[in-house]
């Protein structure tokens, strides 16, 4: 993109679905841009289709035939007269070929240059580029072929270390050694396991982080100027899937914050970045290490928007139109505290199993400091083709403890009758002491198995009690719709008898 070469966008094709497509339709409209939704056959009646100015069917339900089809998306953009494409997140958002195809079709790709996507999308290239740019990465060796070579590496890196299979991934074939003798005892076993599991016995040594936080820096670049908008703490994860994100990260001090921000800007500049992006770090004991850079809008971008007052989609659109970021102003300081809970169609009580089916009833919380970025509507059928994110509940409050209380109230007011969701998990977290004390790490969910039991609780008996009342009511039609038994409220006179709220509210 030529820097600051103003070009007028008119119509943006949103190459995505779900809550982010809804968010982008709204964001484009506020910037005076028309929007084209695309949809698979499963999404013909989805909210993003309802809201956009135009809609184009792009194929059958499976992603490969619709949202992942570069040709179909380009064809839809041409057909509907779009002059720009916003990829959202997921799907083709970090696909350099898609970015190139969009530009080659004469359309504006609302995202970074393809080259930056490519570099950051390749783990090895990214690590090399970051090391060259002076960005700290997790210390590690190359493949080691003997115990002594491993021990030498470990001594340089510092214990505890991890022995990892070169061909491994996804947490398999990893062994933690706290000192040299443990390392020596583990080496043969690690190599053997690596051979068995991956057919490649090579292992390497890497610094082990006990209970790091996942903290990431939001960046904006217009190609001339790169700024950071502070950080987010996304430590509450399960199987590398973020569940709760916050801004700012209350655990780090201003020095660390400044240092991480500067390094993140350096990382982006090293790859010629422009647009919105995020540099993810692991943080432990005052140290931080580059994890990866996400070359797109993040799911959790709203918490940054809440505390900075910056609209990241608006900035993306303006940068794509060749205008300077933040209208040339300096990034604002964060104000207050924001938390986001991902509301997934997964049942936390049954090990987060996916849950599908129609949304029978939907009630969205409202009031001060509450935001809902949703991708569902009553009657919409949640299928199994795409990821399980139904929407994001975000709160903003003057400080973290107020934000936690506000989130609890908002979660209680978010009603989704239909598939099971992660709401009970989030409710349990908001009441859990370590979370409230901000004593968390990426191991939080594993370390708190009782959360899922708490999410189960006494609720089945409440449901059965309600069913008994309903059955009794059904026998007496005079107590039908909307009637109310007198005296329900203050049965026992003074004080607050049965009616004092306790259910999840007062303990």
């Amino acid at each position: 993109m030529t820097l600051h070469e103003a070009r007028r966008l008119r119509r943006v094709l949103i190459a995505n679905r779900g809550e982010i497509a809804v968010r982008l339709v709204r964001g484009c409209r506020e910037e005076g841009l028309q929007t084209v939704a695309v949809h698979s056959d499963a999404d013909a009646l989805a909210p993003h289709v309802m809201l956009a100015d135009a809609a184009a069917r792009i194929g059958a339900a499976p992603s490969a035939e619709s949202y992942l089809s570069v040709e179909k998306l380009i064809a839809a953009a041409k057909r509907t007269g779009a002059d720009a494409v916003h990829p959202g997140y997921g799907f083709l958002a970090e696909n350099a070929d898609f970015a190139r195809a969009v530009e080659e079709a004469g359309l504006v790709f609302i995202g970074p240059p393809a080259g930056a996507i490519e570099t950051m999308g390749d783990k090895t290239k990214a690590r090399a580029a970051m090391i060259a740019a002076g960005v700290p990465v997790i210390p590690g060796t190359g493949a080691v072929s003997s115990v002594s070579e491993a021990a030498e590496g470990a001594a340089r890196i510092g214990y505890p270390v991890m022995l990892k299979a070169v061909a491994g991934g996804g947490g398999k074939g990893m062994h933690v050694a706290e000192n040299r003798s443990e390392l020596e005892a583990l080496f043969e076993r690690a190599a053997k396991e690596a051979r068995t599991a991956f057919g490649d016995e090579r292992v390497f040594v890497e610094r082990f982080l006990h209970d790091p936080r996942h903290i990431e820096i939001q960046l904006l670049s217009d190609g001339e100027r790169t700024v950071h908008l502070g950080e987010r703490d996304c430590s509450i994860q399960r199987r590398h899937q973020k569940l709760i994100e916050e801004a700012p990260a209350a655990a780090i001090d201003d020095d660390l914050r400044r240092s991480m921000g500067e390094i993140a800007v350096r990382a982006a500049e090293a790859v010629g970045y422009s647009g919105a992006g995020t540099v993810e770090f692991m943080v432990e004991g005052g140290e931080f290490f580059f994890l990866e850079m996400n070359t797109r809008l993040q799911v959790e971008h709203p918490v940054t928007e809440c505390v900075t007052g910056v609209d990241l989609v608006r900035e993306q659109l303006r940068i794509a139109a060749g205008r300077p970021l933040l209208d040339g102003r300096d990034p604002p300081q964060p104000r207050g505290h924001a938390i986001e809970c991902r509301i997934n169609a997964e049942d936390p009580v049954s090990g987060f199993l996916p849950s599908a089916g129609p949304i029978h009833h939907l009630e969205i919380p409202s009031g001060p400091g509450i935001r809902w970025d949703g991708g569902i509507r009553p009657g919409f059928d949640v299928g199994l083709h795409y990821d399980s994110l139904l929407g994001k509940l975000i709160v903003h409050a003057p400080d973290r403890s107020s934000a936690v209380r506000r989130m609890r109230g908002a979660l209680e007011s978010l009603v989704i009758v239909g598939p099971e969701t992660t709401i009970p998990f989030h409710l349990a977290v908001m009441e859990e002491e370590d979370y409230r004390a901000n004593d968390i790490s990426i191991r939080y969910v594993d370390d708190h198995p009782e959360l899922l039991k708490r999410a189960a609780g006494e609720l089945p008996e409440v449901a059965v009690s309600a069913a008994v009342l309903l059955a009794a009511r059904a026998r007496r039609p005079d107590r039908g719709a909307g009637t109310r038994r007198r005296g329900d409220f203050q049965r026992a006179g003074p004080g607050l008898p049965a009616w004092v709220t306790a259910g999840g509210v007062w303990r």
């Binding site: 009580v349 009833h361 009758v417 409710l427 009690s465 309600a466 038994r485 259910g503 509210v505």
Partner: protein
């Protein structure tokens, strides 16, 4: 009035009492205000909850603090009549491992005739871009594999037939 209710795989002997509800012999004080046909504020033993109600064929779907319960309920009298008249279904020496949700079978881990213990993975089903391992809840012998990789299964579709140990394993879930 006495009822039989089922919720979340649990059975409840329930009774409407003067002060509330008796569940499996335990008395609960229950108080309720109906704000509409599909919304009730209910207090159980002094703790109160908002409950959303959706009628099902033989009961209600009830939403409480983010969880959805399908509760089937019938009058005890009606049930005993029906039970005397009806046949005993679903018996036999086999347990069936069923799909807890719809999805795509990506791998079958169990082998015909294999002995499995509680927690052993049997089948991997993909849905919403996540792989979910379906595990045995008790020990037994695999007595029939009903699905293969690439199959699309519905919720509650049978995946594996399991012959339980003599000790009486529970149904896998």
């Amino acid at each position: 009035m006495k009822y039989h209710a089922e919720a979340g795989g649990q059975h409840y002997e329930a009774e409407k009492t003067g002060a509330g509800v008796r569940l499996n012999g335990v008395d609960h004080e229950v108080d309720a205000v109906w704000f509409s046909d599909d919304e009730v504020r209910i207090a159980v033993d002094g703790r109160s909850y908002r409950v959303f109600v959706r009628p099902l064929e033989a009961g209600w779907q009830l939403n409480v603090l983010g969880r959805n319960f399908d509760v089937s309920i019938e009058e005890a009298r009606a049930r005993s009549v029906r039970q005397r008249a009806g046949s005993r279904a679903g018996e036999g020496g086999q347990h069936e491992v069923r799909a807890p949700m719809p999805g795509l079978v990506v791998r079958v881990l169990a082998k015909e005739g294999q002995r499995v213990g509680a927690g052993d993975g049997l089948v991997v089903i993909e849905a919403m871009k996540m792989e979910n391992e379906i595990r045995a809840s008790g020990s037994g012998t695999v007595d029939g594999i009903k699905v293969g990789p690439g199959d699309v299964v519905e919720r509650d579709e049978i995946l594996i037939a399991l012959r339980p140990e003599a000790s009486g394993a529970e149904e896998a879930r």
